[in-house]
Amino acid sequence: MNEELDLDCGGALQLLTAFLREEIASAGMDRAVVGLSGGIDSALSLALCARALGPQNVLAVLMPYRTSNPDSASHATLVADHFGTPRRLVDISAMADGYLDREDVSDATRRGNVMARCRMTVLYDLSVEWRGLVVGTSNKTEMLLGYSTQWGDAAHALNPLGDLYKHQVYQLSRHLDVPLPVIEKAPSADLFEGQTDEADLGFSYAEADAVLWRMVDLRFRRADLLAAGFAPELVDGVARRVVRNQYKRRPPVICKLGYRTINQDFRYLRDWLA
């Protein structure tokens, strides 16, 4: 399924590695920090950084919580060692529990968000110590679906995966020789035992990719998607998530009062004079 999304891996790699090197250099740096979850997205992000910057310039950070699946840390270790990057283990249990226990937070979503934001805090702190930029691990499918924590795993300085559908993440990961156990396991946010992304979402990544590719890249309308044979529940479920989560993909809105408002009519690139 989704063969039409197959990448020319050589061409994609050339762009992705040049992007990492040059945009990190634009910030006056040559190093990167990547949070490794043990999953395929962060493994690919690390692999790309290692290839672009040299493994010695990429810090892999493992940030387990006490209830995390032990496989996550062992897979993350496997990935960091496979690509030859230094790694750092920071257990976030005490940090997260300092808030979660004290405030008696039991809701799984809230707990997961707090963990994701603790990890973000660690990554941004280590980015100062390591003198490298935080490189993101969110792919296009999950960004469009909003399957991420705002200011948590969605927080980073630059993101090589943001224009890659999940299908392409798999393809590129195989191409870059990401360890097989990481490629083959079911994608999971690992916020509670037995959690899988696809059960959370209510459809598979393959289904989501097929719809999103047509909706976003090929500009299919709802009627076009139904005519192409996609189930209305799938099309509407995907579309609803895309619209509802637009806020996660945009900077915060600012109340316009003057004639030049940031992000409205004060328009400069990040690479301004870089």
Partner: protein, 284 residues
Amino acid sequence: MRDTVRFRLCQTNPRLGAVQSNLDDHLARAESARADGVDLLVLPELSLTGYFLKDQVPEVALRRDAPELARLAGATRGLALVAGFVEASDDGRHFNAVGWFEDGRLVHLHRKVQLVHYGMFDEGRDFAAGERYEPVASDRLRAGLLTCEDAWHQDGSLLYFLDGVDAVVVPSASPARGVLASDHGLASVDAWDKLLAATATATTSYVLYANRSGWEDGIGFSGHSAVYGPDGERIARLATIDTGCLDGELHRAPIERQRVMTPLRRDAKPWLLARELRRRELEA
């Protein structure tokens, strides 16, 4: 044109909005081009400023008599140099401009006609559009300038064809996109390749394409600067998105031979085009 014109196409990576530092780069390139016996040095679109300028447009704009342009012109004794910048006109408009500097002066200025404002592009918001396609009055060759998107519309190259130019020169800032397995390499590079080959074929002239390199906020420019012969064949190209230069020679003889073999200009009927356009206007 002269029997032989030695050219150099450079795919540079300008600093966004840093005119002084880009000017220093241009002056150094002019100096080494002259030392290497280059007759025509071509730099990409907006080579003095970078591309996604947005609100920087009025901040980096230069009037025709700006000291920066005078310095650039001054560096072209014994050389022709094509460079891109933002032109501030006397009436306060800003143009995406390409200057042809030769033997110490700005001999021609082309204001981009076809501003791009679709997809990732928003030039129409920041620039006024040019309204003329005029051949360059160069001592070295007869040339027509098409700035990037200008090359995608047939009117510019058609007019230059009717003018009998020896070369169509295309400074560009084209982003790299399209990396599917079903594409032939980078899709955007492939599209340009076909377009430029067709332009060379249809005009029976050389086409020189200088496209930039580097990154601006995650958008990478696709390089692959190239030269096409008057028969439409690609003669050489820099097969990379990285910075670099391509040197080569243009010759008068192949143009003349091609125009004997395929006398498109002889058989062109511009009066028919003019009549048909008038007729359509009447009918509209």
